[in-house]
């Protein structure tokens, strides 16, 4: 089949069908110059775009195309969750080498479509072109009731700091995949967080609707990189209790149950779970603050996601970590940074 841009757009359109039926706000989708949509009275639009690049965020030979499709959308939707919003539409900018327009594209679109259905986010348009590598940029639109969006900038001294889920699970999955200790299967729970992350939409919305969170963001580059960003936006400091951070639970036992692990057993035994929790990227958990009067009303589990209080917001600008030996140190920013870190699967997150 001779592929050109028209044919590629047509393939994507056939695969996804029209999004207009599913999304009454959408007036025009794939196939016109631009998408056209209406916004409900009393709502605002949240919009965000996210790169997902071969060589920087994933590798063609170890990340299955189905996962690439799922994850490129899920991680963009995570930014909508982090504001307390509901995803509605997305635009897909896709550049592909010509040799990937067959099977690879099919599998990629399959993963993308499953994520689109699961998170109720319809394809509304995009742009396709040829590239030397796989280049993906996703723009997601969500909606949130006026004045309900939770920003990074609302944290105040005395607020409690919370995270959802367990931190470092995605990094552990990446390491197992990198070492080729496990096959990249959807069914493997140790890899799920890295290959098929789930944005914390229900939690984010609950916090926004109940006005529980004073500030919120999602954890994409690691707590040690993202927490300072929230604090900088709010003009505050923080003191985090290392012992309270929810880390990966017993990775060796889990891993042994999941497949042949002889090669990586030693590595896992020596794994510093706190380090992985602080500096591992791609968790897509929520980091949020609540004022001291409301902090006790934050449930410890919501929509099947654990919520853990890990510290508090302080005056000044110091980002402090109370280590497990009770000594206080500055929290080093050692999370994922594309300009500093190696591409994903080599030495991710290690500066």
């Amino acid at each position: 089949m001779r592929m050109n841009e028209n044919a590629l757009v047509e393939r994507i359109r056939r695969r996804f069908g029209s999004s207009k039926r599913k999304n009454p706000g959408l007036r025009v989708d794939i196939g016109d110059d631009a998408a056209l949509f209406a916004v409900r009275d009393g709502y605002q639009v949240i919009s965000t775009c996210d790169w997902f690049l071969e060589g920087t965020h994933f590798l063609r030979d170890i990340h299955p195309p189905d996962s690439v499709g799922w994850k490129c959308l899920a991680r963009a939707i995570s930014d909508i969750a982090a504001m307390g919003g509901r995803p509605k539409f997305f635009l897909l900018s896709l550049a592909l080498p010509a040799e990937l327009t067959g099977r690879w594209l099919d599998d990629y679109l399959g993963g993308l479509q499953r994520a689109a259905r699961k998170f109720h986010c319809s394809l509304a348009g995009g742009d396709t072109t040829k590239g030397d590598k796989i280049l993906i940029s996703i723009t997601v639109f969500g909606e949130v009731r006026s004045r309900q969006a939770v920003l990074r900038s609302g944290a105040r001294p005395g607020d409690a700091v919370f995270v959802s889920g367990r931190l470092g699970e995605a990094e552990l999955g990446l390491r197992l995949l990198r070492d080729r200790a496990l096959r990249p299967q959807l069914s493997n729970p140790l890899l799920k967080k890295h290959l098929y992350p789930e944005p914390r939409l229900a939690l984010g919305r609950w916090l926004a609707e109940n006005r529980m969170a004073t500030a919120m963001m999602d954890l994409s580059d690691g707590l040690s990189s993202d927490l300072p960003r929230l604090c900088a936006a709010s003009g505050v400091g923080t003191r985090i209790d290392a012992a309270a951070i929810p880390t990966v639970r017993d990775p060796l036992k889990q891993a042994t149950r999941s497949g042949k692990m002889t090669a990586t057993r030693a590595k896992l035994q020596n794994l510093d779970l706190l380090d992985v929790a602080l500096n591992g990227g791609d968790d897509y958990e929520l980091l949020f603050t609540a004022n001291s009067h409301q902090a006790d009303r934050v449930p410890c589990k919501l929509a099947e996601v654990n919520v853990t209080r890990i510290g508090k917001i302080t005056n000044g600008r110091r980002i402090a970590l109370i280590r497990t030996d009770k000594l206080e140190t500055a929290l080093d920013e050692s999370g994922w940074d594309s300009f500093r870190s190696q591409p994903v699967p080599k030495e991710k997150g290690r500066a």
Copy 2:
């Protein structure tokens, strides 16, 4: 200076300042997880994304960074013009090699900022990362009054077909640049259309507000590729009069006035102006249709842009060209296609 993602975002933010003052609808811009904006009552949102990739759409060694900055935004805004809308905000997805985060980035942001001011379109957020090459994806949001947007799908048999401006000027500019016959200066009128295109916002809005256009799109890949798309979306055919197509005016005379031209003089003398007009990309002129009762009321010049009637919409699906010798042929799709064509400056538009 040690560049990382935070520093890069901060550079961009300082350069552009806050967009919230200029754009009352914008609630949150650069620095949070996502942009947040309100939509006026009675308006809909137009949204579109556009790739602009080194090696596919421009080359680092011949396209000045200032032009890359201008053009990446201008061409995305052209899709808003093509629906009759008004641009409001944009998101910038930028991936850069580390060595370009100095002077190149400054000049790029300069061009981007000039375009943003000129077209009243504010930076509202984005995503930055490291790339092996310069990768740009721009998402633009515009607004249009409800039920005023002009789509590709509204053309009906009997409608007249119009284009704005002169077709092929951008292709000519590209060829002169490729042959290094002219220096890539903003002031050179022959290169302006290729380096610094201007989306036809005033014309598009006038047509939408006056309900003059039954269908509309912008010409980005050449009339021979784009016209069939409009016809396919409308389920119609067309008959275009080659003699009526507004081509580049006297390129040899213009070129000789503009610089040393000995090397390319022969080439320009032999230039097939109709071929360039039909198949050259990057014109960003508007292609639109008007029903036969209104066609005579379409002005031949609007906001200093010429408007020319070039043919009509027919029953069936045939895309026909009445050649200058009066013979009718099928219009071959020979415009720009990234999967078929070579990268921009080598043999663009020649299959």
